[in-house]
């Protein structure tokens, strides 16, 4: 099962990840990502996009 994990001290809460993957990523009231469960198999490419756009390299795909 693949999941997105946030390196919280690195995350700056700009929300770019949410823009590219809004189906799985929400933002809380302060602008930080809220991850809604594991990444469905057919959405792994989207999750990779989210990882790629993060300016602080705070997102990782983990598990397999």
């Amino acid at each position: 099962m693949t999941r997105l994990r946030v390196d919280w001290p690195a995350c700056r809460g700009r929300g770019l990840c949410q823009e590219v993957f809004p189906e799985l990523i929400d933002l809380d009231e302060w602008g930080y990502p809220v991850l809604d469960g594991p990444v469905p198999d057919d959405q792994v490419a989207r999750a990779r996009d989210a990882v790629r756009v993060c300016p602080t390299l705070a997102l990782r795909l983990v598990g397999g």
């Binding site: 995350c11 009231e29 302060w30 930080y32 809220v34």
Partner: protein, 426 residues
């Protein structure tokens, strides 16, 4: 300004001699007395140590209750392992590791040294509490009394609440400020400088030491079949000296609590713990498994009781104010969420807040930080609603019954005793 802890940091405490770790400590903490009592340190190979700690079900006494043997097994067979003794408590209400290091430092070191030898580790790191220089000195002194043919390094942790978190300790060891960072792998696999690291709290090491000396049968003379041995508790009634006691697993909590605690709700597990009513508390036995199953984990063994008549809501609010100030401020949800949680709780304690806001904020901080600080703080807030909902409702309907000392409308049920002088023990 960071809000101060409602329980003094590094406050005074009494120690009650105990049946195992704290037995015979009247002869003093020196090495000679220790060897007289326990004999020479046996040399155990890894399989034997794994077997002993598995059968005796040794679990971490730092709060999480993680099985020691699982850590040891994960580190075994990897290159250049490291052993770390965490003697810092972080939690202001806890004094048990300080008491243990003061009374039996060599039992702590025996556990670490046996494990280092079994693993083939050449390095042992001691993490000393910055807020208790006497404890730090006692452990340094004990380490110098021995010659274990290991490299022993001492580090002093900051007196910050989160300084004891595992990754914060690893940062400190690496020469960086001791703030938690994201762990992508367990420390037992990739810890200190990415080397396999068996990091446990001082009490855990003392249990390993005792087990090495006594074997499973001797160790299991106390406790229950499922949970052999003893555990250290810090029993603290606010405004009084805390007491550190060693109790066998299976002991009834009410039998070990001081009379001033009777009839009062208590915070089980300390600042990251859970409220339980006196009725529940009186029925509980000391058990990692049972208390976890009930949703009120024992944590690092703190039982914190409000001062007689003190309002538990206001106490919780003060604790969360303090905890919010202890956030290392590096993770967005913790940096923003804990102060929001603190202010929501202040509002509830003042009779004007909303419990659904509290619950929502608790949900927003859980599992959303580099360390367990937001989770522990959320647990505390949630437990207030779970255990003391009647009290919370009374505040929302008519303000604090303890503070007002007046009827909430007839017929009044006093939810907790009314103090002679409100907040007198603060």
């Amino acid at each position: 300004m960071r809000p101060a802890s409602p329980v003094p940091v590094a406050g005074p405490y009494d120690v009650v001699p105990g049946p195992a770790l704290l037995a015979g400590t009247a002869e003093g903490p020196g090495l000679a007395a220790h060897r007289d009592r326990h004999g020479p340190l046996p040399d155990l190979d890894l399989d034997t140590l794994l077997d002993l700690t598995t059968r005796a079900r040794v679990r971490g006494r730092g709060g999480a209750g993680f099985p020691f043997a699982t850590k040891l097994r994960a580190a075994a067979g990897r290159r250049r392992p490291v052993v770390v003794v965490n003697a810092g408590e972080g939690e202001p209400a806890s004094a048990k590791d300080a008491a243990l290091v003061g009374a039996a430092p060599h039992l702590v070191l025996d556990g670490a040294v046996t494990t280092a030898r079994a693993l083939g580790a050449r390095e042992v790191h001691l993490v000393l509490p910055g807020e208790r220089p006497d404890v730090a000195a006692a452990l340094r002194f004990a380490a110098r009394e021995r010659d274990d043919r290991l490299r022993v390094h001492a580090h002093v942790a900051d007196a910050r609440f989160v300084a004891g978190q595992e990754t914060a300790v690893l940062e400190l060891l690496a020469g960086r400020p001791g703030f938690p960072v994201t762990a992508w792998q367990p420390a037992s696999v990739a810890g200190h400088r990415r080397r396999p690291t068996v990091l446990s709290n001082a009490e855990t090491w003392a249990h390993v030491g005792l087990l090495a000396h006594r074997g499973v049968a001797g160790y299991a003379r106390h406790g229950t079949d499922r949970e052999p041995g003893t555990t250290l508790l810090t029993l603290a009634v606010r405004g009084r000296r805390a007491t550190v006691r060693e109790v066998p697993y299976g002991a009834r909590l009410r039998d070990v609590l001081p009379p001033e605690a009777w009839g009062q709700p208590a915070l089980l597990g300390g600042f990251h713990g859970s409220w339980v009513t006196w009725e529940t508390l009186a029925s509980l036995r000391v058990s990692v498994d049972r208390l976890r199953a009930l949703g009120t984990p024992l944590g690092a063994g703190v039982v914190l009781v409000p001062a007689p008549g003190e309002c538990p809501l206001r106490l919780t609010s003060r604790i969360v104010d303090y905890l919010a100030g202890q956030s290392a401020g590096r993770c967005g949800p913790c940096l923003n969420g804990l102060p929001a949680l603190a202010s929501a709780l202040r509002a509830v304690a003042a009779g004007s807040g909303r419990t659904d806001r509290l619950t929502a904020l608790a949900g927003l901080v859980e599992r959303r930080g580099a360390c367990a600080h937001p989770d522990g703080t959320a647990r505390l807030a949630r437990s207030l609603l779970a255990a003391l909902l009647g009290e919370v409702d009374a505040h929302l309907r008519g303000g604090c019954p303890a503070l007002a000392g007046t009827a909430l409308g007839a017929p009044t049920r006093r939810l907790h005793a009314v103090p002679a002088a409100p907040e007198g023990a603060a």
